[in-house]
Amino acid sequence: MTEQETSNANWKPIAPSALSALHETKLAVQEDHSVLASGPGHETNTYSVTVKDQTEKLTGIRIEVLPHDSLPKKGPGRAGNGNFVISEVKVHTVDAAGKRTPLKLVNAKASFEQADGNSNPYKGWKAIAAIDGDTKGATWGWAILPQAGKSNSWIAELETPLQPESPTTLVVEIDQNHTNVGHTLGCFRLSVTNGKVALDPKLELPAEIQAILAIDADQRSDEQLAKLLAHYRTISPQLADIRTKIETTQKERTTTENAHTRSTLITQTVAPREMRVLPRGNWMDMSGEIVTPNVPHFLPSIDAKEERINRLDLANWLTAKNNPLTARVFVNRLWKLFFGTGLSKVLDDIGSQGEYPSHPELLDALAQEFIDSGWNIKNMVRLIVTSQTYQQSSLPRPELADTDPFNRRLARQSRYRLDAELIRDNALAVSGLLVDEIGGRSVKPYQPAGLLRHLNFPRRTYKQDTGNEQYRRGVYTHWQRQFLHPAMKSFDAPAREECTAERPRSNTPLAALVLLNDPSYVEAARVFAEQLLSGDLKTDEARITQAIRQALSRDPNAQEIKILTSLTQQQRNHYQANPEAAKELIAVGLAPVNDSLDPIETAALLSATRAIMNMHEFITRN
């Protein structure tokens, strides 16, 4: 620090004897010899500073540009952003006879130079542009953005030092001819030196630190010393390594933090918005009655601790002991998950417009149990899956076909198609590819190119994931709200534009195309086939038996074995004749191919596993 304090060049601020501006602007000398511009600004300007009776040797000049409260963004320029452009600095002497002698300036430097692009001949707003004789155009010069509100300095040497024999008048002219109008100087100070012409690092220090440095070392208070040391730690070369380390760590922290999706859990508004009834929904019509939060009047009334009902009141009302509706709606939806249909079929409307429950007492008992268990969902799941009703076989009973065609009385279990996400999970699980990690970001499975091309502002790109991310559960699939992954959309995953209590279960050719041709399913079938071929099973029949057991949790019957062994043989013949096609087929997907297996055998058995994975039973909860 001591070194820094003493290495300063010997600059001496000078008090101007006279000031003038080419265009009407008021220039005034301040106490610290700085010059402040005020009054009418002008598009361009030239300030002339005259210093009389210069007797000392002169080796260089310095222009400090200084912040001032009266300037836009505190200056030092008068442009709206606090900037200026010094396009040229010219110095000359005037002798007693009025004869002007120009002094040539060289080696211009500045404490900071504004960056710029290729249109600028200097690729930046450089100090040297202010002594180039405007050879590259009068508009270019020195500027300092984004250092508005800060001190900076510009220095230049005299090519030949001035050695006045008698008192001499010195004139410094500062041209500000930038084409972007109004980029003139607001506050500056002129200094001269008779020694080394160098930048003064002290000048780049904050004003507060400069002030502390001006105090004698033994006179500085503890607080001042602490501030000084704190600042020193930010610039000390010895601490550079540590500073880099801190910076890197902080960057990592920011990156890590930004990698997580944030969601707002609680917001507090200061004053609730005024809400009005909008006549026929017209939000521009403000004539409607002002309304406050409440529940529909046909429902039990809501108690509020304060005058205005808030969300806590609503939560308490929803879950009040004497309000059976919430629990009833919830257990009805839970029931649907395990039996395919709710006890009351219309999940999103359990009121009088919905359907009267098939088993009202059961619905009430379950709702009461749910409330009594402290809204314990796991408890309800256990209760349902351990029931005899749940554990029945789903095989049809012909005697019920006429009396209960939709199985509402549950004399057997129901059969229904799995939801979109589970169809994917099931295929991946059977093949052994599934990564059942919980949590984390959304993942991007294979998707046809160009699916998102109708989006704009911004255009979207889709980059499929690699590695484990490719095999994560369906719930983690990236959700492009308007352009759902086709495998999700084809199996009725909602677009999330409407609250969807119940998804339809469609059965479409598009769904068939997904299971047949989506690379995710082809890959799963291949890995499944490789797995069967790698074991001890020697015959097609043994492998197919194992495949059905693994995929459908039951033994195959004779017909199924015959269909699949015959398919496998047929495809084996086909791929023996077309070995390249076999290689192409097994190369689908990112999962590494098991090279120890014969591609023809893999392709042949893959046809059988593909067929199994396209069976209705494979995507059905039995």
């Binding site: 409307d349 049809p396 598009l510 068939a512 047949l516």
Partner: protein, 478 residues
């Protein structure tokens, strides 16, 4: 009628009509080595014939082709001649027109609105003398076949909600689009392609995004959703077999799936299995019929010339030709989006450029359908989600909903006719206003459907395409 019951009964009917027999045929074919390849399994698709009982003779049309000029074409440069606006060019827009009205991007300039005169001359075309902009000469050549509506109004001033209103009758996302309503109400007439097909193209202006909700089935079952046919990659998602699987191998795998499902059905007797078998059959048919449909190489040169396309390039003209081919194959609802009409700036050249992209293909489609005798059983709707302001937005025009234009042609529509009018500056529809809901009601009417009676119960209420609105515009009907 309860909807799910309807679909269930439909499947049950299918079962009674002998799905066992069909499945057995599949199995027999599978197990008989002589039939193992090349023999088509005879499986009947269980048809969805719709829930709406159309009265005999009430239907004037069988299908709709919606040529959606996405982005909001300016009525003042296309279909609505406004000489008075030309005289006001550059002058302040009278406040009496604009005060209290909704404006999109010109909001901040409400006190400095200036008129922008029509940028292109209008001409009288055909015997009817319909006035159409000179930038649409080909559409001019079919003037005697079309009915121009110059008094359209909508409620939504931004692209996405306005499209949503145009397609679903409301700006609230999540409702079924008109094509889905039609499939739900009437079913489809084709057995190897989806009943609702969407094609898109771009060119001539800023490409506003198009959301898949525009052809979504909303709360209706997803079998009624529109299927997008793509000009690049698989024409339909996953319609091509995996790499290394030729059509014959694919056929064999599908046949095995069918046989396995049939064996399963013997045990489970689940009507969904029969549907599944049928849908796999349709999927396979799509695998063969879609490439055939998209392949325009067998179209004669004079037809390619008529449309002004080499075909298969994803252009609007190529899509128009595909629309004709879809029409021939019985597709119920065909929607062509051309994203390129959002001319906030430079509308003079912009509208002209976009017009060139769509003019010839549009006219060719009408002529081609006419010469094949299919125009009078088809409804063609040409128009955007809204119009554009008579006021300048720089050198362009802003979004505008108080008045815009569209045209219709085909079965039951008065040809060479115009209906409704905007005020003399083209700001508001003032005469015989036609709201989007009225357009929907009229379209359904042409199918023999009372728009108030085609409903679906969701979240406790009966929904309609026209919600609680809509009047049939009888005056434009023959």
């Amino acid at each position: 009628m309860n909807n799910s019951l309807a679909s269930h009964l439909c499947r049950r009917t299918f079962l009674r009509q002998g799905s066992y027999g069909i499945g057995a045929a599949a199995l027999a074919a599978m197990l008989d080595p002589n039939q193992a390849s090349g023999t088509e399994v005879d499986i009947e698709v269980p048809e969805w014939n719709g829930i709406y009982p159309v009265k005999k003779g009430a239907a004037r049309i069988k299908r709709v082709i919606h040529l959606c000029m996405a982005g909001g074409p300016s009525h003042l440069e296309t279909l609505d001649p406004k000489p008075e606006l030309g005289k006001m060019d550059g002058k302040p827009m009278p406040k009496s027109y604009t005060e209290g009205k909704q404006i999109a991007q010109l909001q901040g300039q409400a006190n400095n609105l200036k008129c922008l005169g029509p940028q292109h001359e209008f001409k009288r075309f055909g015997k009817s003398g319909l006035e159409i902009s000179s930038i649409l000469p080909e559409i001019g050549s079919i003037a005697d076949d079309i009915c121009v509506i110059r008094s359209m109004q909508t409620d939504q001033i931004n692209h996405d909600p306005a499209h949503t209103l145009m397609n679903t009758g409301t700006s609230i996302p999540g409702r079924p689009s008109m094509g889905s309503w039609l499939l739900y109400g009437l079913g489809s007439e084709c057995d190897n392609l989806p009943g609702y097909v969407v094609l898109t193209s771009v060119g001539g202006g800023q490409s506003q995004p198009i959301a898949a909700r525009q052809w979504h089935s909303g709360f209706l079952p997803s079998r009624f959703q529109g299927v997008e046919f793509r000009s690049q990659g698989d024409p339909v998602l996953y319609v091509n077999s995996p790499k290394g699987v030729d059509l014959k191998s694919q056929r064999e795998v599908i046949r095995a799936v069918q046989s396995l499902n049939d064996v399963g059905n013997a045990t489970y007797q689940d009507p969904e299995i029969a549907t599944r078998i049928a849908q796999y059959e349709l999927a396979f048919k799509m695998q063969t019929s879609t490439p055939e449909l998209m392949d325009l190489s067998n179209e004669p040169q004079h037809i390619l010339d008529l449309y002004g396309t080499k075909g298969g390039d994803g252009s609007f003209a190529s899509n128009c030709l595909l629309a004709r081919r879809l029409t021939e194959r019985g597709v119920r609802f065909i929607q062509l989006y051309h994203r390129g009409w959002d001319h906030h700036g430079g509308i003079n050249g912009g509208a002209q450029t976009t017009a060139k992209f769509v003019d010839k293909g549009t006219a060719a489609l009408v002529k081609d359908l006419k010469q094949r005798g299919m125009l009078d059983e088809t409804l063609i709707i040409w128009g955007g989600e809204f119009g554009r302001t008579p006021m300048a937005q720089g050198s362009g025009r802003d979004h505008h909903i108080m008045g815009f234009s569209c045209w219709m042609a085909g079965g039951g529509i008065k040809p060479g006719f115009s209906w409704g009018a905007t005020d003399e500056l083209g700001y508001s529809a003032v005469e015989n206003k036609v709201h989007v809901h009225d357009l929907h009601a009229t379209m359904l009417h042409l199918f023999g459907i009372d728009h108030k009676r085609l409903t679906y119960r969701f979240q406790g209420r009966d929904f309609r395409l026209t919600d609680v609105h809509g009047n049939v515009v009888k005056e434009i009907l023959t």
